[in-house]
């Protein structure tokens, strides 16, 4: 036991010695931890982070994450980042609570911890950056449908799973503002479980059950693509407008085919950029994360934190035939 302890101590000392030259260069190392590697959305966020790093000059971005969207994978990644003694960790979490103990450990070591996109419970981070606010998104998805229906009509919602927190909150916020859109009736809410085949079948079911359907609102990137394909295959492109939240690269073809007139998403490049800016400002003590504080985010303006130390970046960005081609190669 004692030998093991000694060995571990030696290893720890050796590791510290090896790390110290890196610290001496005084570049701030900011780790961008994503839900899983290889997702277009997060790759784009990493681009934004690199942009921020270039602007700031003395920042090195470590873009990392697990290979599948699990909390266990993220905990391993964060532990190794703590061992590398990075200056800041900005995480999009796979689980609200599971990461808290690990992130607390990071904060105890003086590492700045923020969450962005998908949040961590309050005690596990200094602040959380929402891409947009839930009321803004809820309003946006119904507005997208209503804008193309001047005379009103029936619309249906194709969500992810029945238990997806994000989607359920957005649909709830959407229902709150329904009064502002007279003539628009939400006739059904169905769940495609974020699987292409189930979403496709559900969209087919909607078209069968509601022959007068004018629009399908899918606030999920898998669902919106599947619904657009189902509408195209049914020969109803142009008749039924598929809208909601999607990525330009995945939706470009369906905008061209006329199945989708417009859709929205927050700009992941801006999101990665803002998260990096905030992490930098907190790590260098240029701002502090407390309720009511205003933290600058470079070209994105600034974010004001609420009592839960959360802030919203901006309105979702709308894509349609006029601009989708410019963004489809980016994310």
């Amino acid at each position: 036991m004692r030998i093991l302890k000694k060995l571990l101590t030696t290893a720890a000392v050796a590791a510290t010695l090896m790390i110290s030259p890196a610290q001496a260069q005084e570049t701030k190392r900011i780790a961008l931890v994503v839900k899983a590697l290889g997702i277009g959305f997060f790759e784009a966020a990493a681009k934004g982070a690199e942009e921020a790093a270039e602007e700031l000059g003395d920042v090195e971005i470590i873009y990392t994450g697990p290979t599948d969207t699990t909390a266990e994978g993220q905990i391993e990644v964060i532990n190794s980042l703590i061992a590398q003694n990075v200056d800041a960790i900005a995480v999009s979490a796979n689980d609200t609570d599971a990461l808290v103990p690990t992130l607390k450990k990071a904060m105890d070591r003086g590492i700045t911890v923020i969450s962005w996109d998908s949040g961590v419970a309050k005690e596990g981070r200094q602040m959380h950056l929402n891409p947009s606010s839930n009321p803004l998104i809820g309003n946006m998805i119904i507005k997208l449908a209503a804008d193309n229906l001047p005379d009103g009509g029936d619309v249906a919602v194709l969500s992810a799973t029945t238990t997806s927190t994000n989607q359920n909150t957005w649909i709830e916020e959407m229902n709150k503002v329904m009064g502002n859109y007279p003539g628009i009736n939400v006739v059904a809410t169905v769940y495609g479980d974020d699987k292409a085949d189930k979403s496709y079948t559900e969209a087919q079911g909607l078209m069968k059950s509601y022959p007068d359907l004018k629009a399908i609102i899918a606030p999920t990137s898998v669902g919106i693509v599947a619904a657009a394909q189902a509408v195209t295959d049914a020969g109803k492109a142009g008749e039924i407008n598929v809208t909601g939240l999607g990525l330009p690269s995945e939706m470009a073809g369906h905008v061209d085919s006329g199945a989708s007139k417009s859709f929205a998403i927050w700009n992941p490049i801006d999101l990665g950029y803002s998260a990096t800016m905030i992490a930098y400002n907190l790590a260098t003590d240029k701002a502090s994360a407390e309720a009511g504080a205003e933290i600058p985010m470079g070209r994105m303006g600034s974010v004001t934190l609420d009592e839960n130390t959360e802030g919203a970046m901006a309105d979702p960005f709308v894509y349609d035939a006029s601009n989708v081609a410019d963004f489809k190669d980016i994310f």
Binding site: A36, L37, G38, I39, G40, E43, T67, T162, V190, Y191, K195, A196, D197, Y200, T201, E202, Q204, G205, L206, K208, S209, V225, A226, A228, Q229, D233, S249, E250, M251, A252, G253, H254, D256, S257, K328
Partner: protein, 326 residues
């Protein structure tokens, strides 16, 4: 003949499907319209084809859990080829998909045959390995509708005699598998190997090779389905058809194919797949709370298996006699 049919599992399944259709049409009358039934068949085509492949594997007392991963990997490869060389005609892509699928199936087969690892372990392993490879070759990126060529997407939708090619592919597979299982020595060997491997050895059948061939055939059809899936839903990403292998096994079990090997018919597999396909297509239109949907499809499977187990017990497992009649 007729008396035998009435007592058979297929008759029971046909009855179950008719009752199911009756129940559905009482809530949504448009469901049993011929046009809608055709679209349900089209929607179930891929499940039917995979169930046929799975059936020959299960007949030999094995199981292939990697079919969905095989489908996803072949689909991604075919998609990537299409992006790189949009001019390549679809028949070539189909051939590539089939060969690659057969190759992936052969890996399972070799491990079961030569290394003698239990099939459930082998295919559980390759299930994750194949998924992992998709991640490696695609970098986790999606292939989207606008990146695929028009002919790539059009093939399964092309209408022949009023029905899409996808449905015809399922029909062709049913015929081919029927001929394979009933009319070829290999097909009969599947039953013999699953029914009693030791006796099969004495009749001069190479048990390992027969299992290997079953995996290759299941792999080949999964490969073809890989192309069909990707082109039908016009999207390819790491997670496509995730968990679909369980649905395929469920279709076989509902269709009366014994997990213990040696028992099962083409008709059973097809009806089992149709049964699941009808439930899947009906649930969205009959206005049942989504919270109940999973429970309902789950119970349907359990009921079917329970009925299965009961009738199986009565019949016993006299394989050679059945072979004589067919």
């Amino acid at each position: 003949m007729i008396k035998q049919f009435i007592k058979s599992r297929e008759a029971l399944l046909v009855l179950a499907i008719l009752i199911l259709l009756g129940l559905i049409s009482s809530r949504f009358s448009g469901f049993i319209a011929p046009r809608n039934m055709a679209s349900v068949f089209q929607d179930t085509s891929i499940l039917i084809m995979l169930a046929l492949g799975q059936m020959v594997v299960i007949l030999t007392r094995c199981i292939d859990l990697s079919v969905a991963s095989n489908l996803a990997l072949t689909g991604m490869v075919v998609g990537l080829i299409n992006v790189a060389a949009p001019g390549l005609p679809v028949p070539v892509l189909l051939l590539v998909a089939m060969s690659l699928g057969a190759f992936l199936g052969a890996i399972n087969g070799i491990l079961v045959w030569k290394v003698d690892i239990p099939p459930i372990v082998v295919t559980l392993g390759t299930l994750t390995v194949y998924r992992g490879i998709i991640f490696l070759i695609s970098d986790g990126a999606w292939i989207n509708a606008h990146e695929m060529s028009a002919s790539f997407k059009a093939f399964p939708r092309y209408e022949l005699l009023g029905q899409p090619v996808l449905s015809w592919m399922a029909v062709a597979s049913i015929i081919l598998f029927y001929l394979l299982v009933v009319r070829t020595p290999l097909g009969r060997a599947f039953y013999a190997v699953g029914g009693n491997p030791h006796a099969a050895v004495y009749t001069g059948i190479n048990v390992g090779f027969t299992r290997f061939m079953a995996f290759v055939i299941a792999g080949a059809i999964s490969g073809v389905c890989g192309y069909l899936w990707v082109s039908r839903y016009a999207v390819a990403y790491v997670d496509i058809a995730g968990g679909f292998e369980l649905e395929v096994v469920a279709a076989c079990v509902i269709g009366g194919i014994s997990i213990a090997g040696g028992i099962g018919t083409i008709g059973g597999a097809v009806l089992g797949a149709l049964f699941l396909g009808i439930i899947k297509n009906a649930l969205p239109v009959v206005d049942i709370s989504p919270f109940w949907q999973l429970a309902i499809s789950g119970s349907a499977i359990i009921i079917a298996v329970a009925v299965n187990a009961r009738s199986e017990r009565k019949k016993g497992r006299i394989i050679l006699k059945k072979a004589e009649h067919a």
